[in-house]
């Protein structure tokens, strides 16, 4: 009888092992969505795609440092399905549905445009597709309605604007006036609203000189630069990115805008290498978080920078970091859910439950899914000033601000938090 029981037990465990092995052979299909064409491809989309390819290669080879040293996702190899984010919101939503329903992806990491994030979030909820938004900044995703399957592994845009204002306050205690130039769409308007709100909290006597809102991809800023120079603003804020940012730098630097104003380039990190000798010393540069040159020193950061630079011959910019962070969070969440499910492939509800409130470390330091019922991650942010040393762009006077100083506390909307004086609980 005992022998029979032992045989049955042996047979069952053998079957379980075979089943687990077979399951591990089945790849995890990871959908990656980023701009591969259009103006956002070069500064954001392509570096993000490169980071995704690098992370998947390293994970599949089992060569990433701990705690990312398991092969693939929980032993299963990762298969990437990559989609171009370019196109109308309607086509982006259609492609999202295709990824989930036709391609049967297990997880999705993607989206740079805030408009696209707002469009796909309700669809992800409807389809119960676990989705990590990797770059888009709008706080509205989680502040307007609760989500069950959508996550963001990095700070939202409020941290960028409040961080910039806090950096200025630390560096320049008395600012009497400030102006701004931002693209006239959701990102530019939200950035300016948060920045001007934060400035008026930190410098209650300050006034707004001018707020220029040119069209996205306008390219010609001669008039706006004149208006900013004529306004004699002590501080000029811009959340420009990509070609618009580069054109603004090329057109404004020779005219001397930076001589009389402290210019804050919130997303300046993506342009700092390309335009190293065109960005005047002392320009305040942000990387939308502790990423790129502003990433903290750590073994994970060294590993990521070296691997990325070896493979692509350029250092990773902040979108590459954000993509790496999002895939790392997805991997940890998946493996946590798998462990909780007895080593079996987890379902979307189990993955979402595992990610909710999770803390993880990436090349940009420790992040925690702390806000919006554990769906929105928070981390410190950092700013610094440019300095050209022997023809190489460097960042000096770097200051870091902990998450509670730049992101609202649990249950408080960003705009209310800024208007209420940006107090941390």
């Amino acid at each position: 009888m005992k022998l029979t029981k032992a045989l049955v037990a042996g047979l069952m465990s053998g079957l379980a092992l075979t089943s687990a092995h077979a399951q591990n052979e089945e790849p995890i299909n990871l959908g990656v969505v980023t701009f591969l064409s259009g103006p956002a491809a070069s500064p954001f989309g392509v570096p993000a795609r490169n980071a995704a390819e690098l992370m998947i290669q390293e994970f599949n080879a089992g060569k990433a440092p701990a705690p990312y040293n398991n092969k693939g996702f929980g032993g299963s190899p990762i298969k990437m399905t990559i989609i171009d984010e370019a196109g109308s919101s309607t086509s982006v939503v259609t492609e999202f549905r295709n990824l989930v329903q036709r391609d049967k992806v297990d997880l999705i990491v993607g989206y740079i445009s805030s408009g696209n994030c707002l469009a796909i979030a309700p669809v992800a909820e409807e389809l119960k597709a676990v989705t990590f938004l990797f770059d888009c900044g709008t706080p509205r995703i989680f502040e307007e309605s609760a989500k069950n399957y959508v996550f963001r592994a990095v700070n939202h845009a409020t941290a960028d604007s409040v961080g910039a204002a806090r950096y200025l306050k630390a560096q320049k205690p008395n600012v009497k006036n400030f102006g701004g130039i931002n693209q006239n769409y959701a990102w530019g308007q939200d950035s300016w609203k948060d920045f001007s709100g934060a400035m008026q909290v930190l410098y209650p006597q300050s006034t707004v000189t001018t707020s220029q809102m040119p069209k996205l991809f306008a390219g010609q800023y001669s008039g706006e630069i004149s208006a900013l120079m004529a306004s004699r603003s002590e501080v000029v804020h811009t959340s420009f990115w990509g070609g618009d940012l580069e054109a603004f730098i090329l057109q404004s630097a020779p005219r001397g805008l930076y001589k009389n104003s402290d210019v804050v380039l919130v997303a300046g990190e993506t342009a700092m290498y390309r335009l190293a000798n065109r960005i005047p010393d002392g320009t305040i540069i942000g990387a939308r978080g502790p990423y790129g040159v502003l990433a903290p020193q750590s073994a994970l950061n060294t590993w990521f920078r070296e691997k990325f630079t070896d493979r692509y011959n350029v250092p990773p910019n902040y979108t590459a970091y954000q993509m790496a962070h999002s895939i790392m969070a997805a991997k940890l969440g998946y493996e946590k859910a798998m462990a909780a499910n007895g080593g079996k492939k987890p379902n979307p509800d189990q993955i979402a439950a595992a990610v909710r409130g999770m803390e993880y470390e990436g090349p940009g330091g420790v992040h925690k899914f702390a806000l919006s019922n554990g769906h929105q991650a928070v981390s410190e942010t950092a700013y610094g000033r440019t300095k050209l040393v022997n023809g190489e762009m460097t960042i000096v006077d770097v200051m870091r601000f902990p998450a509670e100083q730049v992101m609202p506390p649990v249950g408080v909307k960003s705009t209310d938090w800024i208007a209420g004086g940006m107090k941390s609980k």
Partner: protein, 299 residues
């Protein structure tokens, strides 16, 4: 106060010059060929990319910097006079008998194809050729500093405008062109080689778009998608001025440039739609634009 007025004038004229250069090729092609060339933005982008390559090589080879501008001009001509005739001969000349909407759709398809071809050749990373912009230095008006490159762009717009006027009014070819503008069939019956006029006009129109792109390249990041904004603005200028009218384009560019500069300095939040606001206002009172050409009624 005078400083403020001067500021609006300088910024307005600078933008007007750019608008005129960007739009003049489009109106020339429409005037002669009755083609709304949606691929105009791609020819602008092609000029910018060609300029990036030529000036990039110029700088690398350490050629004299004062000849940058010749290199920019050459780049524009190369792009316009190679791709322009090719497109007209291979693609468009078989379509002239078809409806204008069909040709519009063909040029739209061409626009999409050219965007991808440009990406295929130059990639997605941006190019910077700031040297011609920086080389000229600055001038000051009051406490405001402006790049001398503004003067170059203004001079270029004036030169292009005068040269086109001269060709149209004072040369044999120009008179033939005006004849074709007014009536293609009668012109052909009078012995004018309309096919030749078409290929030359299309190439010149493309080269003009290339000139605008090439001379704008030193002030921007030459990157994918830069032709999209140009085609939208060019249409606004051309429609406001009156399709096919050279003085119309010039006047529309001046009005739009000055109104936009005024808004930037005094009502910045109106800037987004001010150009289209001017267009709507003009079309409300003059539906065929400021200088619409009189058309004979054919029986």
């Amino acid at each position: 106060m005078i400083d403020q007025i001067l500021m609006v004038l300088i910024d307005g004229i600078n933008y007007s010059a750019w608008l005129f250069l960007a739009a003049v090729g489009l109106t020339l092609i429409y005037g002669v060929m009755k083609i709304v060339n949606v691929a105009h933005g791609s020819f602008y982008a092609l000029g910018a990319y060609m300029a990036a390559s030529v000036v990039g090589a110029w700088v690398t080879l350490d050629y004299p910097p004062y000849l940058y501008y010749l290199a920019l001009f050459a780049a524009a001509l190369i792009s316009g006079f190679t791709v322009g005739p090719l497109v007209e001969r291979v693609l468009l000349r078989y379509q002239y008998e078809k409806d204008e909407v069909v040709i519009l759709l063909i040029t739209y398809a061409l626009f999409l194809v050219m965007e991808d071809v440009i990406k295929l050749i130059w990639g997605v990373n941006p190019y910077f050729i700031v040297e011609p912009y920086a080389y000229l230095g600055n001038f000051s008006v009051g406490e405001m500093t402006y790049p001398n490159y503004y003067i170059l762009m203004f001079g270029l717009a004036i030169t292009v405008g005068l040269a086109l006027t001269f060709v149209l009014k004072k040369t044999h070819f120009g008179r033939m062109l005006v004849s074709v503008i007014h009536d293609r069939e009668i012109s052909a019956a009078m012995g004018i080689d309309v096919g030749k006029i078409f290929v030359v006009t299309f190439s010149v129109g493309c080269a003009l778009a290339g000139i605008a792109g090439a001379f704008t390249a030193p002030t921007i990041s030459v990157s994918p998608g830069l032709g999209v904004e140009v085609i939208v603005l060019s249409f606004a200028v051309v429609v406001t001025g009156g399709l096919g009218s050279l003085p119309g384009v010039a006047l529309a560019a001046i009005i739009m440039g000055l109104v936009r500069a005024f808004c930037i300095h005094y009502i910045p939040h109106l800037e987004l739609f001010v150009i289209f606001g001017v267009m709507a206002l003009v079309l409300a009172f003059r539906p065929r634009g400021l200088f619409s050409l009189a058309e004979a009624r054919k029986i």
